[in-house]
Symmetry: C2
């Protein structure tokens, strides 16, 4: 493909390691606009919305391509990312934004910053719709309710895509319970068993890795591209009348950990803990690895979870034992839990890694 | 105009004070794309170019609107702004960019950073075309040759626009000697005397302030909008066969200084100094004001100019006298010059103010 035909490049975020670059021709670009607009429409964004677009880097999939999809949909794009947090909040206020799209981490961070630094509650901004994506988290009820309460917003929708294929392809409809596939016109999907690579039918409750094939992508097309996203099919029909499968992302094949030959996703550990102990523990957690890329753990996996604001010191010991027992029971693996004070685990303004390396 | 019709907001950079917001409907957006694409085409950008777009803030006129105009033109947009300087340079290298668009200050800063921090000459990146704008500077031969030499690029073009009207409207063609108006299809221009407000004909050598009127702008239209840009008409016909007037921007009415009832633009002082003394002095200068917004000076205007690398200490005294005499002779005003060492005056990655306030 000659560069005269390429109108734009997009890169992976490169949060860890080097970024990978992809190319779009004018025709590819039109298809992305259509798919991404469909994703935002499914997530409930309408031409009457004024949407604050909070991505910092224009070059990544969630940057310029999201702005294009939103304009194609007809919403008013207010690209308030890449500014100071103060100016971002000021812009949302001044332009009376009704909606917001950002990574899940940033939505948590921005709410805290608004309250603590600016001194007013995020709910006073009057936002009505929050779209979150870019990382797991929005699929987890406890994280959702934390974000929902902080912002005073009940219209919360998860969205997902891949720079390698199309930056936005999945979004929750008003029914919740998983994300619909929104890019049927341009991309084919398959589900496979990540170990055997056998096809898995799109049936409710099935889990597997999603594979993508572009129909007519001109620059950097993909054929049976392995996404690394491990999903569970939540529904194959929906009261909203959309017919595409609905999924929830439960982890990535490349962040799977192995505890004594048992496979487990960091996000699965978080899900189990929040499922049973969210009265006392927050969604902020991290697993400590000894070195970059460590996958195998032969001793209980070292895990830190932040206590909720009102957890009493005297309860910690007994709680730790109960949590470790829950995880062992439900996932068959052992964790070594340390309960830490609220605010101990650093928040990032972009994607937050659940696994971190000690002493780095 | 209902928000359902607005697809995007654009804001002034807000480098000083609060930013002002403007709105675009789908039709306004299409017109901006056309005008801005025409501006970049006039500046020599072609569909075969891979252009590094180095604006940090997507929300400003030179951000998302420039990316749109470039894609409309068919060039390959690599939006490498908003990243660390290292990653910006790495991206230009990896994607083999042939062209670059940025503010003039950033082009100077990036060349210095490339040489000093990355340790390789900017010319090794293989860029062929540089577009600079966002502030005066590119119109000045000494600044041009400094940028040209640093980057090893002879195709240097100035471009200009206003968020209030259309983010890109003027650009130099291959003939140089001023910027053509490129938005005739959408915007009408007039030249006026900024004091009397009388119309001034577009004749070679005429100076005045540019006024803009949008033909069919749907959201935030403007009628005889005073830009504050003071320009000189350099030509009214051009060997490139374009028929629109050509201008050079010589200052802004709101940064004009008054020395004992004499009007003078900071950029005019710089022009005169570089015109006669660029063997010894660099384009980096600043005027020291006593307070924000100071316009009147009753004593010689305090001015710092950076020496060139090879200026000998013993020459400074005599040189200062000669420079002060040149300015007095050609502009009728007095400056009190201090020659400072190379690198003394801070570089910014955005627009650099020629007038600064002491002790702030």
């Amino acid at each position: 493909m000659p560069t005269s035909e390429i109108v734009q490049t997009v890169s992976s975020s490169g949060t860890s390691g080097r970024s990978v670059h992809y190319a779009l021709t004018a025709s590819d670009h039109a298809k992305w606009n259509d798919g991404i607009a469909n994703m935002f429409f499914t997530a409930g964004i309408r031409p009457t919305d004024v949407i604050a677009h909070l991505t910092r880097l224009p070059m990544v999939g969630g940057g310029l391509p999201y702005a294009d999809g939103l304009r194609k949909l007809g919403a008013t794009v207010v690209w308030a990312g890449g500014m100071s947090t103060e100016r971002t909040l000021e812009t949302i206020k001044t332009l009376q934004a009704t909606a917001l799209t950002a990574t899940v981490s940033f939505e948590v961070y921005l709410a805290e910053h608004c309250r603590e630094v600016m001194g007013y509650p995020p709910s006073s901004l009057g936002l009505e719709k929050l779209i979150g994506g870019g990382e797991p988290g929005m699929g987890q009820p406890e994280i959702r309710s934390q974000i929902s309460e902080a912002w005073g917003v009940t219209h919360l929708r998860e969205a997902m895509g891949l720079s390698d294929v199309m930056a936005g392809m999945w979004a929750e409809c008003g029914q919740g319970n998983g994300m619909h596939f929104c890019a049927q016109r341009h991309v084919a999907i398959e589900l496979i068993d990540p170990d055997t690579q056998d096809q898995v039918p799109w049936a409710e409750g099935a889990t597997g890795e999603v594979l993508y094939t572009t129909f007519s992508r001109e620059a950097t097309p993909v054929l049976r591209f392995r996404s690394g996203d491990i999903v569970v099919v939540t529904e194959t029909s929906c009261a909203c009348s959309r017919t595409s499968p609905k999924i929830r992302c439960i982890g990535r094949s490349d962040d799977m950990l192995i505890y004594k030959a048992m496979n487990v996703f960091p996000s699965a550990i978080r899900d189990v803990i929040l499922d049973e102990h969210s009265d006392h523990l927050s969604p902020h957690m991290r697993i400590w690895a000894e070195e970059v890329g460590q996958v195998k753990f032969d001793h209980p996996i070292p895990l830190e979870v932040e206590a909720n604001m009102d957890l009493e010191e005297t309860m910690v010991q007994a709680l730790s034992g109960r949590v470790e027992a829950t995880v062992r029971e439900r996932l068959g693996i052992r964790v070594a839990l340390t309960v830490v004070a609220p605010g101990t685990i650093p928040r990032t303004d972009y994607k937050t890694a659940l696994v971190q390396v000690r002493d780095s």
